[in-house]
Symmetry: C2
Subunit: 590 residues, 2 copies
Amino acid sequence: MPNYTAPTKDIQYVLHEVLDISGANTPGYSDLDAEFTEAILDAAGALASDVLAPLNRVGDTEGCKLENGVVTTPTGFKDAFAQIKDGGWPGLDMPEDFGGQGLPYVMGTAVGELFSAANQAFTMYHGLTHGAASAILVHGTDDQKATYLPKMVSCEWTGTMNLTEPHCGTDLGLMRTKAEPQDDGSYKLSGQKIFISSGDHDMSSNVIHLVLAKVPGGPEGIKGVSLFIVPKFNINTDGSLGDHNGVSVGSLEEKMGIHGNSTCVMNYDGATGYLLGDMNKGMRAMFTMMNEARIGVAMQGLAQAEAAYQNAVLYAKDRLQGRAVTGAENPDGPADPLIVHPDIRRNLMDQKSFIEGARAFMLWGASLIDAGHKGGDADAEGLISLMTPVLKGFLTDKGYEATVNAQQVFGGHGYIEEWGMSQFTRDARIAMIYEGANGVQALDLVGRKLAQDGGKHVMAYFDMVKTFCKSADALEMQEFTTPLKAASKDLQAAGMYFMQNGMKNPNAALSGSYDFMHLFGYVSLGLMWGRMAQASLKALANGTDDPEFHKNKLITARYYMARQLPMTTTLLKRIESGADPVMALSAEAF
Amino acid sequence: MPNYTAPTKDIQYVLHEVLDISGANTPGYSDLDAEFTEAILDAAGALASDVLAPLNRVGDTEGCKLENGVVTTPTGFKDAFAQIKDGGWPGLDMPEDFGGQGLPYVMGTAVGELFSAANQAFTMYHGLTHGAASAILVHGTDDQKATYLPKMVSCEWTGTMNLTEPHCGTDLGLMRTKAEPQDDGSYKLSGQKIFISSGDHDMSSNVIHLVLAKVPGGPEGIKGVSLFIVPKFNINTDGSLGDHNGVSVGSLEEKMGIHGNSTCVMNYDGATGYLLGDMNKGMRAMFTMMNEARIGVAMQGLAQAEAAYQNAVLYAKDRLQGRAVTGAENPDGPADPLIVHPDIRRNLMDQKSFIEGARAFMLWGASLIDAGHKGGDADAEGLISLMTPVLKGFLTDKGYEATVNAQQVFGGHGYIEEWGMSQFTRDARIAMIYEGANGVQALDLVGRKLAQDGGKHVMAYFDMVKTFCKSADALEMQEFTTPLKAASKDLQAAGMYFMQNGMKNPNAALSGSYDFMHLFGYVSLGLMWGRMAQASLKALANGTDDPEFHKNKLITARYYMARQLPMTTTLLKRIESGADPVMALSAEAF
């Protein structure tokens, strides 16, 4: 059975030595000194290791059950959920007005990694509630906020998001779910939604569904979509629970992974719902959830990679097999541990350099969200809007790849379910798909975000890289900035290719969109490694009391620059080959 | 439920228009005219589509069962196995003396792709029997051949290979299974073997285990390992079955995939065995099976990719979602099919260009085996020995990646087991692990095969690429040869780097071994695409009656050159970064 230990030291390093959050101008950040954040991470880490991680395989093997319309979660989930609620974890970064702890989003993200790494399927129950509560917070009326938020922030009630229907996922304009207006201002919703994570379960007294639907007679397609609040149990005027609403679970999906989460087919049969936000602006309201959810999913990619990596390292140090090519390192034992072999190290270093870079990227992204939302920094908001598809697409693709690599370290044992390495890959696989499949992220990036506000944000990104390199070169950091500059140049060349060709032939840009998303991801992790190298050089120069830690960061930074970042060359070549290779074959010839 | 259609036309194309097998000098090849091979492929294809493919998901969901020491296979497997036996398929390329059909190995490979694509878990039952029979054919005494081969060639009895023990997989020198010599010349085997594919089941009257074990008092480590034949039921002198031997199934492994195959823990408790081949030369004998098995596993990578790709294409043509960026292509429908979107095409073209290149690589490799074994061509034998780790490592890694890409086309539905796309990835995953994990293939390639016979075979490979490019340039094929030459130059530079650095620092070579294996794979598929382009240009020049087919080959060749082959640049950079990035971190710092 796999282990999990919270990487508190690494998170603290990013928060304080790399991002210097307590020195940032963002409201609320001045409270986040190292002692305070460590206390939070330690408490969350203990819960993750001791309570959630042991339930990860239980969730995978038992799964959820639907009997007589009632969904039961795996053994132990209910108790664990009670502990999460009691600790106030779901409302960590929610407003104090509604019972939250009022901490910044960056802390929610840092803690979220620990919970998600320990048990992704479990963590989705409160993760989605958080997203639904955020949508109500932004778009709800005062009454709606008062009715729903206190109970959702505490997770006494959980939340869901209902977008997909059997015949439409990405293209929501095709949706068929209807919302008929009633005389009292409410609506009656009818239709079927699929892939509803945490759709129903036995861990909360109510489930608040946010449902996209069309009001008959409204505009065609996506312009006629509105968002509705549909509680599982109707809520009486005194706040107590009333009748069961006209919503039921059609079935539970049998999935490749995240078995511990109840993925439901939801049937709405004249269920009472309430408009959330403006009529026919449902997509805008939903995107409040979606953007948050996309960052949350990016984090799942990182989290599963971390959990899998930890176990691969333990195995590589423990399993004796073969001898180091340069001479026995464990001469008294029957063989050397796997970790002496260069190819095992290559595999582990690929994982490690990705994970640590991705963590810095995630937390930096979360700090941009705080700067935008709490600090009113429009540039930060623009930048995170640009980076969201990169975070989601790159971190989930590479996170999945990392779990597959971790599984590979185990040889045949990696294929046996009992060892738990298969589960990491099966759970991580969904993150590349949900909240917008990664191809859709690439489309969002190249088709929309690049040109947003006249291309201002991508120019700001390049300026930021340039400024960093300049400051780093002043510190003689050329071994890090030289590869980073080369990679950044590849990214700029790709952007230039799109600008020069995309207008007259959109396919020329879209054929390279996926490569561009990865290229952007590689450069961003390169920038993060540059910053980490800078932070660690500074710590070493200042006489840190843990020089090994910082030296190891420098070693890992060098690995990333030498063996990961060169991928940008190939990605640029792919992009510059344009539309013809991709579009030339007729559809029939596939 | 997924479909499968045998890609007969593509196989025929490779056999006849690319490899021109019936024109080759290899004994037996002159019989292989296009009509004959098509008849074989059609018959096998019908069996694959109609009998094996429908059982693929049955095998996945039911799995095998162990009750009271007896293993039962999933519903329908027994009948299907009877049909495979009745058709004589297991002995297709086995000698007629022992009841086989005496066809060349290349035909066994071509047919093997169809069976494996339709149902990998099922096909392993006769696939492993083939490997075990080959080992007896090469290393057995006349008595052993007479006793075992006729029944194994017909699959009345099936075979297994027993290498791995709980504490040792790659490093077989650590093995503990003992073989005590008996007065009658037989041995008593005791020990435990794990991960034994097809270890026991209800589809044959006997199971012939080939078991590696140590005779007490023999040399230490791998030099003291011998190979033994251990039948499940002892065989009486008249050939009838006697008592149950001292071998039993300890348990069935619960695996990530290939659930339809019974992967057993086998316990040997004083089981009677017979030495196969020379004492203490067990590894040599086992490698007869292993090399064949590695080629067979390479083929599984290709086969699962093909099966997954076919279903991704069907879905991409069928599923309506969004509109083409250049204007609606299905204006009367609610949306356009997925296949209009550039990123979906990019995904499908990645799969297609891999699969068709890999098929040519596989069949060319199989023709080298025939040239070596049947034709006595030592150069061919040396070349396939060099290429075996490349085939196994590259085709299973890229084949797995292709199944993941195919799953991605389905969006959320790809994650739901009912659609069957998850199974392709779960089944394909094992191919990267068994018969020597791919890291071990890379070690074999760089640590052993490159320098074999003084580096003669790798030089021959480069000469072959050069010769091809020269002949192709004479036909004005520079659009294909220019990228191929560049990639081949990267491969040569990597080889040069190993030569210059590997002697004084073996880690400098081994740190790049995995990248080198992939680099070799990319160049080899590039060579195959060059050859296919040449064959199709020739067909078009000669006025083929199917110009579209050949034009599409050229389009796919261009895609491969433009978007896959550039990977060699990055791989070379990784290799040339040497040992330091990989080896610098202390083991404790992971």
